[in-house]
């Protein structure tokens, strides 16, 4: 029988705290969303001053990442390379800033960040995940 790992609220709080620290250190103002492996919201935080749009975009990046088990930036890159058909993929926001949480080859969920430049969003998401996985 296969066992299944899940992100706990404590895990999410750890990811969010590390991501927030990364953002604050760079004086970036963002929204940070964490979803489970089904793309459903587990945890969300929007820093004071982050736009309302960043709230929705952060969640969509996380959902994209969790459901495809890839970074949302990978989709952006593929489209940039000419695979424009990927724009019609269901439920995909092909913008960098969503990173899956992979543990022992399984995707447990994803982190999506929005608010600054896309590569900076991804840096924040990755910092959050690194804090969780480096234990």
């Amino acid at each position: 029988m296969k066992t299944r790992q899940e992100l706990t609220l404590e895990d999410c709080e750890q990811v969010a705290a590390a991501a927030l620290a990364e953002a604050r250190q760079n004086k970036w103002i963002v929204s940070i969303a964490i979803v489970d492996d089904g793309g459903h919201l587990l945890h969300f935080v929007r820093m004071d001053g982050a736009s309302p749009a960043s709230a929705a975009i952060g969640v969509e990046k996380a959902r994209t990442s969790a459901m495809t088990r890839r970074t949302s930036g990978m989709w952006e890159e593929r489209i940039r390379q000419g695979r424009t058909a990927m724009l019609k993929m269901p439920g995909i926001l092909p913008v960098q800033g969503g990173v899956p949480i992979i543990v022992e080859g399984c995707c447990l969920g994803a982190v999506g960040v929005s608010g600054v430049q896309s590569h900076e969003d991804e840096q924040i998401a990755q910092a959050g995940i690194d804090a969780l996985l480096k234990e």
């Binding site: 609220l9 459903h40 929007r46």
Partner: protein, 157 residues
């Protein structure tokens, strides 16, 4: 009799106006305020050993803080947001809509209100008498969700 009716009507209108003033939107909730609300709501949930989703939205109905406790069913994540959105948009608790709906008759029109969630567990968040956002709770019974949401509301007062 007619005079009396007029007086009653005038009083009702005045009361409505008063309510509307008391419930106008203020500045959107800060993250610090939201964290205070979340901590109080979560503590209330843990007291009753409930696994819930709790969402806090700003005055525009956009998410500020959200968390799903271990073991909460995944639909609760969306339902909590829906309840909070309804409370922010209509500036009244889901329970108020629920009670009106329960009277039946013409009040079943509430089911057609855009984005309304006529279920206990969503409440406007007030600071200095103004609506600064809303809290939505889902995962327990309506009554349990309501108790947790109101614990969150009380944290700002």
């Amino acid at each position: 009799m007619k005079k009396l009716l007029q007086v009653v009507l005038a009083l009702m209108l005045a009361a409505t106006a008063l309510c509307a003033r008391a419930q106008s939107y203020g500045p959107p909730i800060t993250l610090e305020q939201a964290r205070k609300v979340m901590a109080a709501a979560e503590a209330e949930a843990r007291k009753s050993s409930l696994n819930l989703s709790i969402a806090i939205l700003d005055t525009g109905g956009h998410m500020v803080l959200m968390q799903r406790m271990d073991g909460a069913f995944f639909a609760s994540a969306q339902v909590a947001r829906d309840k909070a959105w309804s409370a922010a948009a209509y500036r009244r608790p889901g329970k108020a809509l629920q009670d009106r709906l329960a009277t039946g008759g013409a009040e079943i029109r509430i089911l057609r209100l855009q984005g309304a969630s006529p279920i206990e567990g969503g409440d406007p968040l007030l600071a200095d008498g103004k609506v600064v956002g809303a809290i939505g709770v889902s995962g327990g019974s309506g009554e349990q969700d309501g108790v947790v949401a109101r614990a969150g509301v009380a944290a700002l007062k």
